[in-house]
Amino acid sequence: MSAISTAIELAVEATPAEQKNAAAASSAGFAYGLAAIGPGIGIGYLVGQSVQAMARQPEAAGQVQTTMFLGIAFVEALALIGFVVFILLKFA
């Protein structure tokens, strides 16, 4: 409780520039965290289906792995976009 009250006191005493920096930092953190959730779910689903495909049809495992790798990379681009938003908010 004391930590929360200290944080509130600091927030009240902060200058507008400091408040803006704090808002940017927390927004950046939220952007990165939220952007990683969707790709995490997507990769989980994609790999789950790919493992199922490899189990059902092992002779196609090589092709499935190629497609899976490219799919993972495409899904990961979403997380990368979230990361770039994070660095732009935090450092630019």
Binding site: E59, M68, F91
Partner: protein, 152 residues
């Protein structure tokens, strides 16, 4: 060189298809470098060139590391692929975060060109690669050579 199954059909033997794709993309990134350097020079001069070059290195290392983890897991057991893919995703996000945050305060780093290059190079290399992979389900390392032989 193609991957084959072991006798229990629970893992791949031979070269990993994912690693072949990633190395193919790494080779293609060499063709992108002049364009990327020009873009960096136009936006931020020498610092821009260094920043976009750093971004290209991050993207290529990310692809190769992802492929190595998945390929190695498939060579051990298919059941490990799930862990390697999701664990690798978290690991690589952390590595990219660390690689960028470690240099973000350096004088030569320009965040905007670096960020743009990260996204554009990642998507550009993927689209370039998937052109060949989607053309046929043959292993992608073979497709560009077949194309070139057809042209000549």
């Amino acid at each position: 060189m193609t991957a084959t199954l072991n006798q229990h059909a629970d893992r791949l033997e031979g070269p990993s298809p994912a690693t072949e794709v990633a190395l193919d993309m790494a080779k293609r990134s060499a063709f992108l470098v002049p364009i990327v350097i020009l873009f960096g020079a136009l936006i931020g001069g020498t610092n821009g060139v260094l920043s976009v070059g750093y971004a290209v290195v991050i993207v290529v290392v990310n692809f190769v590391l992802a492929a190595f983890l998945i390929g190695r897991a498939a060579q051990i057991n298919f059941a490990l692929v799930f862990g390697a893919a999701l664990g690798g995703f978290a690991l690589r996000l952390g590595l990219i975060f660390g690689a960028v945050v470690a240099v973000a305060d350096q004088a030569w780093v320009q965040i905007v060109p670096l960020g743009i290059t990260l996204i554009v190079t990642h998507l550009g290399l993927l689209v370039w690669e998937i052109r060949y992979v989607s053309a046929s389900m043959a292993y992608p390392g073979l497709k560009p050579k077949e194309h070139r032989q057809g042209v000549h």
